[in-house]
């Protein structure tokens, strides 16, 4: 059953035949959401344009982030692609994030190498996109109202000690 199923998959893949050879990736943009109060999760979005030989559109690309593969989505024109994912804010620590973009051929080669414990470094990605996530902004560490309360507390204490001195 499984073999038939795999065969069917291959058939579909070849029937579709939409592959991007000699992909040229341009206009790479990466954005992350950084507002802790506004967002429930941190979203990471990488968009890019890809030009393929034979003007193929809406072809699959795959982004590898920390060993996980994410399939790209294409816009209405089929030329701009997006790879996106989200993480709970606590887990979205600040730092460098790199996304390796693979085309279908390299993705399959990577998967095959993974299955057969082959050399993964031999499989080359199209491009690596690195960007920096600042971490979610939690606001200033000392609240301004606290600072003002402490300031007026000090003033009050100072006034009170002088008053006590005079009255004594």
């Amino acid at each position: 059953m499984q073999k038939i199923f795999l065969g069917l998959l291959l058939l579909v893949a070849s029937a579709l035949g939409q592959q991007c050879s000699q992909a040229k990736i341009t206009d790479v943009k990466a954005t992350t959401s950084e507002n802790l109060k506004l967002n429930t999760e941190t979203a990471y979005v990488v968009t890019f344009k890809a030009q393929c030989a034979g003007n193929a559109r809406n072809v699959p690309f795959y982004g590898e982030v920390n060993g996980n593969f994410l399939a790209s989505s294409a816009d209405a024109s089929g030329e701009t692609y997006e790879i996106s994912w989200s993480q709970p804010i606590e887990k979205a620590t600040s730092g460098q994030i790199s996304v390796r973009i693979f085309d279908e051929e390299n993705y399959n080669a990577y998967r095959k190498a993974q299955r057969s414990n082959g050399d993964l470094s031999k499989v080359k990605e199209l491009q690596t996109v690195t960007f920096y996530h600042q971490g979610s902004y939690k606001g200033p560490s000392v609240q301004s109202e606290l600072l003002v309360t402490v300031l007026f507390g000090v003033v009050f204490y100072f006034a009170q000690t002088i008053r006590n001195k005079i009255q004594a």
Partner: protein, 196 residues
């Protein structure tokens, strides 16, 4: 005007197929479930509203020519910062999922109805009839004014500095008056002691 959107409580996934469904193993064709979620605690005018679409293929064959169309954010009310209102996938393999994230920013405050997105696809390579499905929807949300949001959540540092400046005269002026007369009497006291 607190408006918290509970992310998963509104996880109403609409079944995409009209045929009777027994179990997942029975699904020979592709069947897509679409969840549309808002990753925001608050929806604020001019600030980012993050929408996440999750598409699950619970069938046993790949869904082909998948097209997700969301007409919910028209250009006169929303601006797309990133992501697409029409997202396409050539195929979604069986038992797998894909995500798409769009970030929009509302141009106007007020009540707004977040409705479902539409997904169209071919459930198998033999299929000629395009399947249509709808995502979950969130219903009405209130888009806050940016001013109201800032009043609540901005750090207010400038406000507090102004407060200190305004409160300072009522503390500093009596203090200066007191300290000047105090020093005067102290001088008098000292000179009085000397003359004695």
């Amino acid at each position: 005007m607190k408006f918290v959107i509970l992310l998963l409580s509104v996880f109403l996934i609409n079944y995409v197929h009209s045929d009777a469904v027994n179990t997942n193993e029975d699904l020979e064709d592709a069947r897509l479930l679409v969840a549309k979620n808002v990753l925001n605690n608050y929806v604020v005018e001019g600030l980012n509203l993050t929408i996440k679409y999750n598409i699950y293929n619970i069938g046993n064959s790949p869904a082909l020519n998948v097209k997700l169309v969301d007409e919910n954010f028209p250009a006169e009310y929303f601006e797309y910062a990133t992501g697409f209102n029409v997202a396409q996938w050539a195929r979604i393999p069986p038992q797998s999922n894909v995500t798409h994230i769009a970030v929009v920013s509302p141009k106007l405050p007020g009540l707004f109805n977040i409705t479902s997105a539409t997904v169209t696809y071919l459930p198998s390579e033999k299929a000629t009839k395009v399947q249509t499905g709808y995502s979950s929807e969130l219903g009405e949300v209130y888009i806050q004014r940016l001013r109201d949001y800032n009043r609540r959540f901005a750090s207010h540092t400038i406000d507090w500095i102004l407060f200190v400046v305004m409160a300072a005269p009522s503390i500093v002026i009596p203090y200066l008056l007191w300290s000047s007369s105090n020093s005067k009497y102290e001088k008098l006291e000292k000179s009085g002691k000397k003359s004695n």
